[in-house]
């Protein structure tokens, strides 16, 4: 039993259970994805409405058009102005089509970048709320530079001078999620998922069968627990009993507590330290092995496994 579990409250115990016990991969991942996609789950505007007494939404990228899949603006959050960027899905069919199922195009990311620049200008913190099945795959989006827009959005998030917190509130898939997810602190809701691709997309490519989504979900393990173990997220935010869709007020209250604490910590840090730590955080993430061939400095610094074979074409499992 982990120490967090033995001393923690109700939520801490449940999350400690999820994080530290070996999960039954298949059902766990698939359940998490179903919960993360639940249509009654709170979306960014639901959270922002509960966080802020007053919120001014901004529209348009000033270049082409407004993308309703991304909502952003400025709100008064606990007596301070804070900039928000969120990926919004819709609840009913008409709303979903209007929001393009939460799949932003390049305009959406350019709008987000506009708000990032605004946050820098006003020197106010930025909070991003991620909930997307991925960036929109469409001919028009490609022609207007979908890839470049995501890349520049990531670069802007790396560069931006103010404290930033990203929260994965639902499903976070592919570059569409990462584009607004490179922050000082990354949080994930208990039932949120974060992965390189949606299980449907992954099964279509790797299994060559879109129907194998359950298998893919089990293999990708996109759950909060996996992300926490890999250090991809800094904290897991508890949800009300049964999931965030059961009680929006309670979900917003819990997220609010975590957000406030992270923002307080970040505000207390010197700017240069914060920016350096943000870069180092993402520079560090990854999993690779290193063998003692090639660069001799690797041997000196003790980063490599000296027992590895010298033949680079046939390495055996090491470490």
């Amino acid at each position: 039993m982990s120490s967090a579990k033995s001393i923690g409250g109700r939520f801490v115990k449940r999350i400690a259970d999820k994080l530290h016990t070996a999960p039954d991969a298949t059902s766990d991942s698939w359940d998490a994805i179903q919960l993360a996609r639940h249509q009654e789950r709170p979306y960014p505007l639901d959270y922002i409405g509960r966080f802020c007494d007053e919120f001014e939404e901004l529209h348009g990228d000033r270049l082409f058009r407004d993308d309703p899949a991304i909502v952003c603006g400025i709100g008064r959050y606990h007596g301070e102005p804070v900039a928000f960027i969120g990926e919004q899905k819709g609840r009913d069919t008409a709303d979903r089509q209007y929001r393009n199922f939460g799949m932003p195009g390049p305009e959406g990311y350019r709008k987000a970048m506009r708000v990032m620049n605004l946050a820098t200008k006003l020197d106010i913190p930025l909070v991003t709320l991620i909930d997307t099945p991925g960036a929109f795959p469409g001919a028009g989006a490609e022609e207007r530079g979908q890839g470049g827009a995501i890349a520049r959005s990531i670069a802007e998030m790396v560069r931006i001078q103010v404290p930033t917190v990203a929260v994965i509130i639902g499903e976070g898939s592919s570059g569409g999620a990462l584009a607004i997810g490179v922050a000082d602190r990354v949080l994930i809701m208990e039932n949120g998922t974060y992965s390189v691709i949606s299980p449907e997309g992954g099964s279509a490519i790797l299994w060559r069968d879109a129907g194998k989504a359950r298998l893919a979900a089990a293999a990708f393990r996109p759950t909060a627990a996996t992300c926490y173990r890999f250090g991809v997220v800094d904290a897991v935010v508890p949800e009300p009993e049964g999931g965030a869709h059961k009680d929006h007020d309670e979900a917003a209250r819990l997220l609010d507590q975590y957000l406030q604490r992270q923002l307080k910590e970040l505000r207390a840090m010197p700017r240069a330290d914060r920016l350096r730590q943000r870069r180092e955080r993402f520079r560090r993430l990854g999993a690779h092995k290193e063998f003692a061939i090639g660069d001799p400095s690797a041997v000196v610094s003790g980063r490599v496994d000296l027992t590895a074979p010298s033949d680079p074409s046939a390495p055996q499992a090491a470490k």
Binding site: G147, R152, H288
Partner: protein, 345 residues
Amino acid sequence: MSQNPIQVTVDRLKRIAHIPERAPRKPADAGTCPKCQSHFSSEEMVANARVCTNCAHHFAITARERLDHLAGGHDEWREIWTELRASDPLQFVDLEPYPDRVRKAEQSTDLGEAVVVAELEIEGELCVAAIMDFKFMGGSMGSVVGEKIARGCERAIELGVPLVAITSSGGARMQEGVLALMQMAKTVVAFEEMADANLPIIVVLTHPTTGGVWASFAALGDFTYAEPGALIAFSGPRVIEQTTREKLPDDFGKAEQQLLNGQIDAVVDRRDLPARIGKVLRICHRPDLAAQPPLANIISQASGERMGRIADAVAETITQTLPKLPKKIADRVAKAIEPRGGDDR
């Protein structure tokens, strides 16, 4: 089309001379261009950087062949960080386990990973090159590719030279799950470090550059070129057709089209690439940034004097304690601290 003289072997000229009026069209095989059905020999292929001499069709080229070509037809480049290998953080199994796929790719391509990072001179200008190879698991970007590109940037900053990145990738490596996604952020962070060091980045997009690679560092070059006919897209045509049910034109996402869309600076024939990159490197040449001594050298120089003082103090202590030691040990110590070369005899 290339302005360079096209190299044609004598064999080939002979064969053209003997072609009958209307040669029966054969299906494309290893020795035939799929576009114009002309034949070629393998030496000719290598000499022309795997570009069809007849119709300028760009064949796939391995990363190391490309380095030879960029370095001016010889192998004067030094590959760095060959010791990095993929690990399997998710214990991922799709149709076969991930480590097996990696091992197969290693054996079939003779590469350690989907990217080769090397130091080389292009037209006499030193640079660091990161070259992706599509043959290694679709050139997908996993932890090792991200790490190698990030370290490539760090080496470029250390040397004060530009980075040349030649991309060819299907996107992020799905077998590494969310960590593969994080490599997009990692490469962008590394490119930001390059920006802080005022160093230029040249990106060449080759067929195909899609997904997570095009949505991260590949789109952030200061000079962005593409090879003719290269597919450059975030989502490939097949994905778009499945999702939106729209019929796409054949040239969708091709380099020529992306030039019109304003996504790239120019479409450059592969045979012209060394000259074109060399030209940019010459323009950007900054001797004041280049060849700054690495940090380790500066530290060791500064601490050299201090180390000398410590060594002196240690030697003095030993000399003082020497008479108190047993004779056998004292002799051995005296021999060990005796200056190299000893006194002239």
